[in-house]
Subunit: 394 residues, 2 copies
């Protein structure tokens, strides 16, 4: 299962182990280490309730002026709304820094799991020696699996940036299946690249790439307290790519990860792409798409392969965005189902069959001169989502 280190960015090593944070004996602690100082940028949750590791990562990035050597991440406990949260995050980061021989401010901690349960720093500290010994350039996929919670699949994505004859590589991983409506940030996502990228460019490229990827997915409309995406650029390839080329490659990687998250939404059987065109602005288009994506009635109709376009139109009407329903067209799976706000003739049986496919496309077009357009991803809403979440904690 391990990816050849040949295709991964140079100068990064990875390691995962079971530290006893999860109840089940499955890797729950991981390290991503850059062999040299890397420029680093991250985006964080906009939830008012913020987990301790998120606060510390933010602080460390400020303290190091955008430099990092390692990401320390655990699953099984969010370390959020805990009495000892700050101290635990700090102790774990310090122990990792010591074990790696780097500054404590160069460690970015991240956590995911249950909220409100005290976390035992000892478990992390005890597991660190094993973790450090295990560091290897080829263990990328093991880390991607260690950060999974209710995910059914690990999520990874890769890109290359060619500059003349030399190549820089980007590799990303993410986790996330429920509590997914990243806002300005998301779930956990880690991206490493051996391109040489100044920190100011890294930050702005990440902001723009996130806006078009993680901020355009929703599984259930809930934004986690622990969302974080971090990117580390260590320059080991010697390539300093043009800003636009780097941003494009980073966006490709993040968009792929975001789609994989929507596709692996809790209980989901289908990946739903929503395209909105002709809105008054990109923001208006995104708001319409998000409202459709979060409508339980739309998502259950997709689960039932029901071409119920009335629910799509009604959901859009609730977006708080001004548009004329009489100038609105809707297509499902390429089939016109609504023209100028009214039913278009279509074969219900044929469309139902098309909606049984794994990927569903909803196209919402407002006629006229509006130039706001957006693509947004979500999943269908099945009984399995309820089963997973009625018993996740206990």
């Amino acid at each position: 299962m391990s990816r050849s280190a040949m295709n991964l960015p140079l100068g990064f090593r990875f390691s995962a182990a079971y530290a006893g944070i999860r109840k089940v004996p499955k890797d729950d602690l991981a390290l991503i280490v850059s062999d040299r100082p890397a420029t680093a940028a991250a985006v964080f949750t906009q939830n008012r309730v913020v987990a301790a590791p998120v606060e510390l990562s933010r602080k460390n990035l400020r303290g190091s002026r955008g430099q990092a050597r390692a990401i320390l991440v655990n699953a099984g406990n969010a370390n959020c709304a805990t009495r000892t949260g700050e101290r635990v995050a700090l102790e774990c980061a310090r122990a990792a820094a010591k074990a790696l021989g780097v500054h404590a401010a160069q460690i970015l901690p991240a956590s995911t799991g249950v909220i409100g349960v005290e976390m035992d720093a000892g478990l992390v500290i005890n597991a660190l020696p094993k973790l450090v010994v295990g560091l290897d350039a080829s263990r990328f996929d093991e880390v991607a699996r260690a950060i999974m919670t209710t995910d059914t699949r690990s999520k990874t994505a890769f890109a290359e940036i060619k500059t003349g004859r030399i190549v820089a590589r980007i590799a990303g991983m993410a986790k996330g299946s429920g509590m997914i409506q990243p806002r300005m940030a998301t779930t956990l996502g880690f991206v490493v690249t051996d391109a040489r990228v100044p920190v100011a460019l890294l930050r702005s490229a990440l902001q723009r790439a996130i806006a078009r990827s993680f901020n355009r997915i929703s599984v259930d409309g809930d934004t986690s307290t622990n969302d974080m995406v971090a990117v580390l650029a260590n320059g080991a390839s010697g390539v300093k790519p043009p800003a636009k080329a780097f941003e494009r490659a980073l966006t490709d990687v993040l968009e792929s990860l975001a789609r994989q998250i929507a596709n692996d939404g809790e209980g989901a059987r289908k990946l739903v792409t929503i395209e909105v065109e002709g809105a008054s602005s990109e923001r208006a288009a995104e708001t319409i798409a998000r409202t459709i994506a979060n409508s339980p009635l739309v998502k259950t109709a997709i689960a039932g392969s029901d071409p119920n376009w009335g629910r799509i139109l009604s959901a859009a009407g609730n977006a708080g965005v001004i548009f004329d329903p009489r100038q609105t067209d809707i297509d499902m799976q390429g089939v016109p189902v609504c023209r100028r706000g009214l039913a278009a003739p279509f074969s219900e049986d044929e469309l139902k069959k098309k909606l049984d496919e794994h990927e569903c496309l909803i196209r919402f077009t407002i006629r006229g001169r509006g130039r706001g357009r957006v693509r947004f991803w979500t999943c269908d809403f099945t009984e399995e989502y309820i089963r997973i979440n009625a018993s996740y904690r206990t």
Copy 2:
């Protein structure tokens, strides 16, 4: 099953019949008639997509300057996003006016059911004679049943206003089970009273009563295209109650109906009351309560009797309202589960048992001087909701 006409407001008659709009032979058309002109007020959906009967009711209320004689309502077809919608609504209202010998502008039409399917005015017009013949002061409950769609129970509520020795009565009915997050209005609700209420007072009392009742429930966060609550006051009791007494009685009736709707949410097994206290304003409190009420993660936890207060805190953190999580307390079923943003000690087993009860209370308190407080109602989120909605249309 019929309620004695003795307990109903004087001077109103009711009738229901099967007109063939639904596929199943169950009453789908109803009339509520005041024997004398009644003052009337109504609130309507804030969805940008608005059904034809909603537009016509709004227009008629304007045209009649707040006078009405009858409400004509059908289930089985929303008459929304239909080519012939306006004409159908107008023809039906005109036919009802003719059959009752009143002005067309004195009819308030309302519809509920599937969106985007053309409605046959002939079915309504053909059924009108039967409907008018059947008008009777005792058939209130039959109308309440005729307007049901996925509802499992009809919803009615009653109040009295005593002024000296004479009594005015208020009787209300509502329908609604899915696509429920009324905003400024709601689902279908009809209230009749034999109190004498000037139209300006009726309007303002309805606005305020709706804000504290229908606007504080959510089943699934979707706002329908056909939402409407109308109140008719015909003065037949001779009582002209004090404004405050009338508003209080009207609020009681609407709050009871709103709770019944949340309680009968699609697939719901539990009624959830959310009390928020200590927010910076009533609006802030309502936003927090609504965000908790719409969180699928909170609602599935309640379905599983899981005291997962971390999800409640996380949901509140997404409300877009400023508050300090470290000053936040959460109680479930009267049991402290979170104090100052941290876990409070409680017996998981005992609380799980308490959460198996039909009514669940979540109390979210922000310490300090904030005076914003609110009560909000929702229901749990079960696999049955998915089953109902994956196949509603076809």
